[in-house]
């Protein structure tokens, strides 16, 4: 009995989840929220401005219907700038390689790395 308990305990302790996964999960949630807010704003603004109007009542801005201009163009422009700030303040910059270290030193030994280290002949 205690043997199996020790074994399952050892199995649980051996596995430590990569800490980068938690940050990845948070970024996933942020992306979903961004998508939801964008779609909601796009449809909401278009409906609020142009919903249920006859064709004669719709105003035109730069040749486009006003509901299209405000929702797609202005909303799209604002939401195209938002990801820059999202990434700058909310996303975590992390190395992507398997071991979690700097990704320059990877599978392919690049010549740049060799020149920095003392060669075995020295």
């Amino acid at each position: 009995m205690s043997e199996t308990r020790e074994r399952t305990g050892a199995i649980e302790e051996d596995f430590t989840e990569d800490p980068r996964y938690a940050a990845s999960r948070r970024e996933m949630i942020i992306s979903f929220v961004y998508f939801g807010v964008y779609t909601f704003v796009l449809i909401g603004v278009a409906w609020l401005i142009g919903g249920g109007k006859d064709a004669d009542e719709i105003g035109f801005i730069l040749g486009f219907p006003d509901w299209f201009f405000w929702s797609a163009y202005v909303g799209g422009a604002i939401f195209s700038v938002v990801p820059y700030f999202l990434v700058k303040y909310w996303f975590v910059d992390m190395p992507l390689s398997a071991s979690g270290e700097d990704s320059e030193v990877g599978e392919y030994e690049s010549p740049e790395r060799r020149s920095g280290e003392p060669s075995p002949q020295d």
Binding site: S24, R25, T39, L42, F68, A72, F79, L96, Y108
Partner: protein, 170 residues
Amino acid sequence: MRWDIIIPLAIYLVLLIGIAVWAFNQRQAVQTGGKSAEYYIAGRGLGWFILIFTLLASAASAGTYIGGPGFGYEWGYGWVLAAMAQVPATLLVLGVLGKKFAIVARKLHALTVTDFLRHRYGSHVVVILAAIGIVASLMVYMSAQFVGGARILQEITGVPYVWLVIIFAG
């Protein structure tokens, strides 16, 4: 047959083939163990700038050239607004799948989604079903691309439609 349009297109195709031959020769220099990564994903060294063009190329298809304008003409700006929903989809794909996939793929040395499935489930049936599904859906998608591209080029250059479909498929 408008030769003033066909000739630049042919020169562009020859240039593309030349780049492919050059890349093939470059590939001989990659060390063993890295050749698949070099072929499928350019050795993981392309960076963010090429990623932008990859996404744009994914968006530019026969649907964008023929289907989209056709729908827009018939249904008006309402359809264009609905198509705007694919704008945040780019960030959604990169944000949801990007980091986790990148980290896990480097650990597993996985290059495609099928590799992921093989590592996760360890079953031949899953991998074969996934491959069949991918091939079948790509067949459907590519046939639409052939038809769309051949129609456009037929209107522009005057080359008969059948020839263009054969050239595209080849």
